[in-house]
Amino acid sequence: MKRILNLQAKRPLAALLGLLPIVLLIVVYSVASDMRLKANPSDKLLPSFTQMSDSMQRMALQPNQRTGEYLFWVDTAASLKRLAYGVLIAAALGLFIGVLTGSIPLLGTTFSPLLTIISLIPPLAILPILFIVIGLGELSKVALIVLGITPFIARDIQRRTHEIPSEQLVKAQTLGANTSQVIIRVILPQLMPKLIDAVRLSLGAGWLFLIASEAIASTEGLGYRIFLVRRYMSMDVIIPYVIWITLLAFLIDWLLAKFNQKLFPWHKSGDQR
């Protein structure tokens, strides 16, 4: 018998092992749900899978009686739109700030302290300020996401810029390149995959800020819906919504990873030459 430290699972067994805890979790849930519903058929805490799928059919496949909208899809579209705007603006801003402060030393020494301070402000703490200054509309929700993740992206990009070997920058200069040529042709292209990596890492925070701002002031959105039905203890809506948000987050992350591989074949993470 080998030491536990050295034991490894082979291919089919490994997949099975990975699935085991998930299946176990589902089984435990359904047994617990059954037990509670048997004791009290109107129990709301652990809805059965049928109850959940009924609720979802009502939300996703039937128009709302009052507004005629398919609430599930309206919520999804609204949330994804806010997230997309927020993340895209944050990525663009973060790239801009990160590249300039990272590659031009004078800008770096001027703005790095400020950037550090801003990145330490808890974004949710300034959410009231956003609501006061720009109102309760769409803009404040997007602004919260932007404020929340731009400093992270900017600082990450700044660090990645410093990681580019100085030999490359010197080499480009000996071939005649000026400052803007070095930034545009040597630094920027090498940062694009790093930017996508930074976006992937910041998406978790992005979702957090999105749901927080929707919970406080909104009329539709995935976060809004969860917090709305909480009043009626509608776990049969909340749980599928959470699963849906998780699935969306996974899909976006997976797509960005694929995108990175396709677009930047020269990029191997953790290996630079």
Partner: protein, 266 residues
């Protein structure tokens, strides 16, 4: 063309180089050898413009050499010399793109076509035509250095600086690279400075050999004195004894300190 007048380089109290007085004519191929940490690379960096002399003057055509890299001085480093996000062909074309003034460093239309032609010709000269669409990551170490050399030569600098360019390569490949550099040097007629830690390399490559070493040494304060050029020899006229002398000088057997030995014996 290049002249050093009493050049010193210090970092704080540490003296790296002292009293360097040399002059180099156009078209010479100078090889710089010496023990590691003796300041030969520092001297190369001063020629490149990423380091400046602490004292004295380093002149090019009678004028102070510029203290930032430019097109006059090409460089091939031991590694990281090529752009990893460009294919081999794009790497060489970038030389042409950077040579033109402009905001973006991209080429379009006619100039792009011309650059492509020139780059392809250069790739043929260094034997990389087959790999022109590969990314540097997919090349061997020797091929990557060929690419770096192609870039540097295509820019036609007045001085080409080679900083241990073959240090990481296998001996066999190193020989190929020597032949390549010598051929290109003859074809493009530029002044070459090459730093190497391989003394033999210095003895048959190029026209002139400089040995960097300390003339005086204080064993209790190693940073007190810097290295200078202890041998400045024309290549091809060096006899075996000189070779041995230099070899011994760079790989000295440690001489025990007499004061220390006495104390131990007492």
């Amino acid at each position: 063309m290049i002249e050093a007048k009493n050049v010193w380089k210090k970092y704080g109290d540490q003296v790296v180089l002292e009293r360097i007085n040399v002059s180099v004519q156009e078209g010479e191929f100078v090889t710089l050898v010496g023990a590691s940490g003796c300041g030969k690379s520092t001297f190369l960096k001063m020629l490149l413009g990423t380091e400046t002399p602490s004292e004295g003057e380093l002149l090019m055509d009678g004028k102070q050499i510029r203290d930032e890299p430019d097109r006059d001085r090409g460089i091939v480093f031991q590694q990281y010399s090529v752009f990893p996000h460009m294919t081999v062909l794009e790497n060489v074309m970038a030389t042409k793109a950077f040579a033109r003034k402009g905001l973006t460093g991209y080429l379009f239309g006619e100039s792009r076509k011309a650059a492509r032609e020139e780059a392809l010709h250069m790739l043929e000269q260094v034997g990389l035509s087959q790999s022109r669409d590969k990314y540097p990551d997919a090349l061997s170490g020797g091929m990557r250095q060929r690419l770096a050399i192609a870039q540097a030569f295509l820019a036609k600098p007045r001085i080409l600086l080679l900083d241990e360019p073959f240090g990481a390569l296998d001996p066999g490949i190193r020989l190929d690279m020597h032949a390549l550099v010598l051929d290109l040097w003859k074809a493009y007629k530029m002044t070459v400075f090459m730093v190497t830690h391989d003394i033999k390399e210095g003895f048959y490559l190029g026209t002139r050999l400089w040995v960097f070493d300390k003339r005086r040494d204080d064993p209790h304060a190693p940073g007190r004195y810097g290295a200078s050029i202890t041998f400045d020899l024309p290549v091809g006229k060096i006899d075996h004894t000189t070779y041995q002398q230099i070899d011994d000088q760079l790989r000295p057997t440690p001489v025990p300190d007499p004061v220390f030995m006495e104390k131990q014996n007492a």
